[in-house]
Amino acid sequence: MIFRSIKSSMGRFAAIFAISALGVGFLAGLSAATPDMALSGSRYFENNRLADVRVLSNVGLDMGDAEELERIDGVKSVMAVKNLDALFVTPENETIGVTVIGLEPEVMLDRPVNRLTLVSGRLPEKSGECLVEHTIEAVAALEIGEKLEYSPQNDGDTDDIFLPRQLTVVGVVENPYYMSMQREQTSVGNGKISQVVYVSEDAFDMDYYTAVYLTVEGAEGEISMSDGYWEVASPVVDRIEKLAETQKYSRHGRVLSEAREKIDDAWATYYDKKAEADEEFAKAEDKIAKAEADIADGKRTLNEKETEARQEIADGERELADAYEELVQGEKDLEKGKQDYKDGKKEYEDGLAKYQDGLKEYEDGRADYEEGLAEYEKGKKEYEDGEKSLSSGRRRLREAESKYDAGYAQYKAGLEQLQAGQEQLDASAAALAQMLGLSGVTSAQMLIDIADSDPAVEAAIGAYLVPIRQGQAELDEGRAALEATGRQLDEAADQISRGWDKIYDGENELKKAKRQLLNAWLTLEDGRRELEEAEAELEDARTELEDAKIELEDAEKDIAQAETDLKDGWREYYDGVKELEDGKKELEEEVSKARADIAKGEADLAEGKKDYEEAKAEAEQKLADAEYEIRDAEAKLEDISEPKWYVLDRDSILVTAGFDSNIQKVASIAKVFPVFFFMIAALVCLTTMTRMVEEERGLIGTMKALGYSSGAISSKYLIYAFSASVTGSLLGLTVGFRVFPEVIWHAYGIMYRLPELYTPFNVGYAAFSSLSTLACIMAATWWVCRESLGESAASLMLPKAPQPGKRVFLEKIDFIWSRLSFNGKVTVRNLFRYKKRFFMTVVGVSGCAALLVAGFGLRDSISDILSNQFETLWGFDLMVGVRPPDEEPIDERLSAIVESLDGYMAVGQESGKVSLKGGATSEVTIYVPEDPNMFAEDYVLFRTRVGHNPVEFGPGRAVLTEKASRTIGASVGDEITLEDADGEQVTVTLAGITENYIQGFIYVAPDLYESIFGRQAEMNMLFCRAGRPDEETREALARDILKCSSAVSCTFTQDTAENFGDTFKSIDMIVIVLIVSAGLLAFVVLYNLTNININERHKEIATLKVLGFYEGEVASYILKETNILSALGGLMGMALGKVLHAFVVRTAEVDMVMFGRVIVTKSYFNAFLMTMLFSLAVSLFMLKRLKKVSMVESLKAPE
């Protein structure tokens, strides 16, 4: 039955399963990380026999001391070691601090304490070979075959004790003591140890040991630094300290007397050498004086000779100058003559051109005249032709006129004749008519017409009519002929009159032409006269021009002569000049040669002097060094007058102490994160099971009615939840135990050479986390069951009355409500209807968003550190370590180099510790700048992190960096304890706390330093402003600087920044873990919410589909709610994330670094966006489920 239930509700089962897996995985994984790391560290320490106690002494330790220690009850093994810190020069020409550890030739690796493991290469076989400590990638490693040169900068003591001058790396080893990349401070070089190397003990010429390491019996079985460990170790440490009280005097006496003897010997040698040196100096000085006198003589002679020669040259120069004057005058005259000639010639040419123009004009005039004349002749001829043709026309016309007159007379006569004939005929016809009795007939024609129309008449008079008809016909004919002639005559008359018109026109024209001809002739005559005058003028001009030409030719000849004369004059002058130059050059050469001889003599002398001075200085320096060393030794002897033993347990051993504190950090993070998951697990389970019980309400009622007990019925749901939770827990445990410790462990790979990680199945954490998750889920289930089972069987059988719709306060704001769509209204009411879901989702999603904000914020926090520290806060970018100037002044080369930079300042650097009234201590570097005011102006920006208010630093003030002040809990004005490298403690008042991110510093003004420590600070550093050079320049500069004898180290802050940058990359890993967890969380919660929503509203969805809602409309109806809740959760997550981020940053900070505290807006934005994306992804995923809802569901009875 359970299986069937599970199968039929996979989604629900999966939700409980997943949230159990997440909750358990997180809790168990993160909790187990700490013990896993502690265990892995301890196993590594144990396997490699890491020392439990380290004993040091200011007078050294000897075999007797070691034997005494071994006798102490509870001490397992003892190992005495010779080691020292010295400066070496790497193949890259860098001077570094190196810890050299001696190994017993017979034992080498398998030492009783701090066992070594050979990683690669081989063991040293002869002197000058060494092993090097294995480092992690981030630290520059030495490789096999590379050589370390013993630095000449080491002090004499070291020179004496350590024999080899070159070490060749032949192998790489691991020492558990150096698992951490942090190294102890040292007194050599810049105070930093960069490498640890191992050589055979023979390399040390010392009769004592520097340290004794020992292990405690029984401690190896305990987790390092745990309570159990201290129970075993502490009594032994106490016993060692007790032994120290007496044993420390044993070596002391012997050491004292030996040292005294050595110092006395040294003094004797020193005085001998000094006397010897003084004698040599006197001799050398004599020689120099003689050479100086010789040179002075030579100089005087040379000067006299030179003066004489120069006088001669001056005379020659004057003569030449006179000649030059004359020549220049001649040249000027010639120029003038030339100019005159040129002017004359120009005038002549102008005249010639004018003459030619005139000639041309004359010829043109002449041609015009000829042309005019020809035209005139032509016109005259035309006129005469016209006259001739006119008179012949007149003649022809007159002939035609007489012809016309004759014709007209004839025509007139014919007309009269015809008229007479007609009258006759008409009279005869009238008579005839009278005869016939026809009255009224007056003409022949009338009679004819009558006859033609009246046959009777015709018949009567036909015969008489014939002649009349004939006569009439003839008359008509004659009339027609006459009329034709008349027409011809009219025409002829017309023609004649037109002819006359033409003649008159012709005559008029001719008259006009005649007038024109006359005018032309007059004009021509004028032209001819003018031409003749012009010809005469031209002739005169020509003669004048020819005269001018002859004059010009004469002038030209004169000029040529003058030029030749001048040229000769110049040649002579230049010969003179050259002669003089030669003389001069000769003189200069001779003089300079003589001078060079003298200079060489002088240079030789200077060199000799310089050699002498250098030799003297060197000798004096050597003597001073020797004296200093002797006095130093004397001082040291004073110092060690009180012997002292240092007994250091694992609390004071860097590797174990640091490792332990880092583990504690993980533990604190592990406490917060799972809280989210637990809250959410409970909520998820509550909502899920509530739904399940509600769905099966009817079934529960039926079972109850059948007589099943409440326990039996609820057992089903408890078993259901139980199986989901248990299977989920198992998955969570398997994954969590493995993944979380692994990820965190690797994040620490930037600080440690990590040994293998053990991730044992931790029964305790497994049980705790699974059982608590289980309990949480079971409690939620039981609570839900109890609520339902409380009702009677009968009421259970009835469907639960649907939760009534409720009005929400938003409805009262009509302004908003009326603008909402139905979808919106339903969504708003639903949001307030199911409170459990509301909280589950908002809490879950806000958890997701908070994780994202924390993750992104963490990145913001570290990304700003480097630029803030190295660009904003620190104005300097180069630190040069120098020998203390009171021991050895800064040499010229180094001063020249630093002078060439933008600025530099001497600063005293010292390592130290600060604390407040015996509270927590913080390691800091003490900086004492030479000129505090200028330091604050140009080198370090003193300000508060919040608000960026300036922090005052100047004479008499001490300013601490923020992280250190927070660690010790100090605030401005507090009196804090400052401890220097030698352990001397003083009290100083804090004048300010300044922003700082990397490492801790206390800046102390030199006057204050002197007043609190009673001595001046050693100015062993030069802070320089090199203008942030590029890498190439940096390397070149560093090489130059390190070549200088007084430079010990050279560090560019840019290089430091780059190293840190690599380190911070590992933080990204944590960010990814956070993002993935956030995604999982969001998915589980939103999936569950949507799943429940869809299940519960199956019928509603089906109804909407039946009503005809489109797919998209249905989806938005359901999913809008999810999205709004996501957004709400997301917004809440922003605030929550800020808190979480602050916490994570505080715990995750590495000691020497302070992370930024600000999350940029973009990160909030990204986190929110990502949350919404997760929500969207779930929505898309759920769309498929929505599509599957069948419409037939709508027909079913309510559940």
Binding site: K825, T1103, V1106, V1192, L1195
Partner: protein
């Protein structure tokens, strides 16, 4: 051609190896404006007919047409639009959205229609003028069913499909609801199809289609349908 036509409609389900016919060659027709009752015992295929006619299910054979459009040939999107614009559905269990008031429930349907009727007016017409702002949980079964009918009418569809509209109601309330449906049919001229197992209701129908074993057993036309008051069961 009749307003609604079922022409040899086949619907079968495959249960394992077996084919079960929910409808075998169902044929009938309904004229526009008729009050039609489809009656038959449980499992006779009433619901299958309802699903197919309501555009919620497809058929495996035959043709279904409404007002000249072939429903059996429509794709999913067309079917959604068909339901959206042409069908008004009255459910046996009302299926009101619990989180919306009576008025809003009606408006919800109107919001997606082409020419919806005024929601408040429609509710007044079904006699709920004074319960507009009550949530479903505050209404009796009969009132809820009236809201459901109002919701169907407000969409102004071509047909009203009612699935056992009186099934969850008591006798008197059931009668009132049937009266409302009949009245709607007469007044608005909409085709109303009621699906029921209650033989008594057939007396008030214009047309009665009896189904049995996935087939149409008989179809008859009532010349004189009785008013609802005269029916008893």
């Amino acid at each position: 051609m009749a307003y609604i036509e079922f022409d040899r409609v086949v619907r079968k389900y495959i249960m394992g190896q077996q084919e079960i016919y929910a409808a075998r060659e169902v044929s009938f027709e309904i004229e526009k404006g008729e009050f039609c009752v489809i009656v038959g015992p449980s499992g006779a295929g009433k619901t299958t007919i309802l699903n197919i006619l309501g555009g919620m299910d497809s058929c495996d054979g035959g043709r279904v047409t409404l007002d000249g459009r072939e429903i059996s040939a429509m794709n999913g999107r067309e079917l959604t639009e068909y339901r959206r614009f042409d069908v008004g559905f009255v459910f046996q269990f009302y299926n009101l959205v619990q989180n919306l008031t009576a008025l809003e429930n009606v408006e919800l349907a109107g919001a997606i229609s082409r020419e919806p009727l005024d929601a408040a007016d429609t509710l007044k017409r079904v006699g709920l003028g004074d319960r507009l702002n009550n949530f479903p949980a505050q209404l009796s079964g009969g009132e809820q069913q009236r809201v459901s009918i109002a919701r169907a009418i407000a969409k102004n569809p071509k047909i009203l499909l009612c699935d056992e509209p009186t099934g969850a109601l008591d006798y008197n309330t059931g009668k009132t609801i049937l009266g409302l449906l009949q009245d709607t049919c007469r007044r608005t001229g909409k085709t109303v199809i009621v699906i029921t197992h209650n033989q008594a209701i057939t007396a008030m129908a214009d047309r009665v289609i009896a189904v049995k074993n996935g087939q149409v057993e008989s179809m008859r036309i009532n010349k004189e349908p009785l008013p609802v008051e005269r029916i008893e069961w």
